[in-house]
Symmetry: C2
Subunit: 189 residues, 2 copies
Amino acid sequence: MDVRTLCLAVLSKGEATGYEIKKAFEEGPFAHFQRASFGSIYPALSRLLAEGLVEAHAMEQDGRPDKKMYRLTAQGQATFHAALTVDPEPDQFRSDLLFLLFFACHLPPARAATLLDAATASYRGHVARVSGIKAEREAVSNATGQPLDPGREFVAGFGITLYQAAADYLDANRDALLADLQGHAEAAE
Amino acid sequence: MDVRTLCLAVLSKGEATGYEIKKAFEEGPFAHFQRASFGSIYPALSRLLAEGLVEAHAMEQDGRPDKKMYRLTAQGQATFHAALTVDPEPDQFRSDLLFLLFFACHLPPARAATLLDAATASYRGHVARVSGIKAEREAVSNATGQPLDPGREFVAGFGITLYQAAADYLDANRDALLADLQGHAEAAE
DNA sequence: TAATGCATGTAATCGGTTACATGATTCA
DNA sequence: TGAATCATGTAACCGATTACATGCATTA
């Protein structure tokens, strides 16, 4: 997904500034499966504005420079919906960690252990974060009676399950790998 | 991981042609967590050759044009090992499918179903393929007594577990999502 | 006082994809 | 005859990252 479409997607959930769009990919609902940087968001927004897919109005703030609030136009809505009809390319879990671990034999065992532990912690962090905001949404929904968004909850659940499985796998196989590496190193002596 | 490093990585497992390197990312051991295209592999190989990190010798073939077999030099080995000491950036399951499903409410339920089923099939295909080659390696190892590569098996196991978990999640939540969507659509009428 | 968060933007650069170009062989 | 596999490469283009540039407010 290009950043252009990603911006339309965030804005389809409500108006936002460039800065807030960035946050949606850092801590917000898209955090676990998409990413975008300032360097791509701001130019995308400018282009979208020039094309009439979004409209912007400046909001004055005391002291701070104005912030620009962006909102989808009808044309932007339509373009976004059209983007949803495109077939997705197959998913792939592109992972630098797996790349390194593939060559575990060339790694000092201590480094392998560090890598493994850091990744486990990171995955568990993901699970905790996404679970937290999902639970919060459920609490709000229960309290107010507002229905949950099925797509959003489905995607959050997917993320939780996947990162949980990843963390569990690392946990379950960590010691065996490290032992293998030790044996491998000794055999090479 | 840039394609340059990826090429060094494949060549560290034995000499190969550009074409074979491509295959390593399509069906080979790297298939489920890295990717590279011809348009990036061939230029990377040229550059690597110019820098002395790989050496090449032409292999004549009857009828067909020569193929170039590439092999790591000592310098290439060293560069590759250095690349293994770099800290990996955090993993992210970048997924177009999840992006679309996040907006499931804007999708016709039939399309959501198609998307879900295609993804499940694709994940299961991954699992079958990686399990197959893993089992084959284990059989060979049992027959010949050659030890397995711990890193390779660990990574293969990770891929199997993850894609299995993904497929299972889709299976387990498919019908509920579709029902929600139906209810949502009716409520909107 | 230093770091962090809020807030927006530009420019250089880079890496990679897509499409194109070529050409033989084998299999359906 | 047409498609797929083997086999290598180039060029245009694009999209995105990184770093840079600015500046105020708040918090430690």
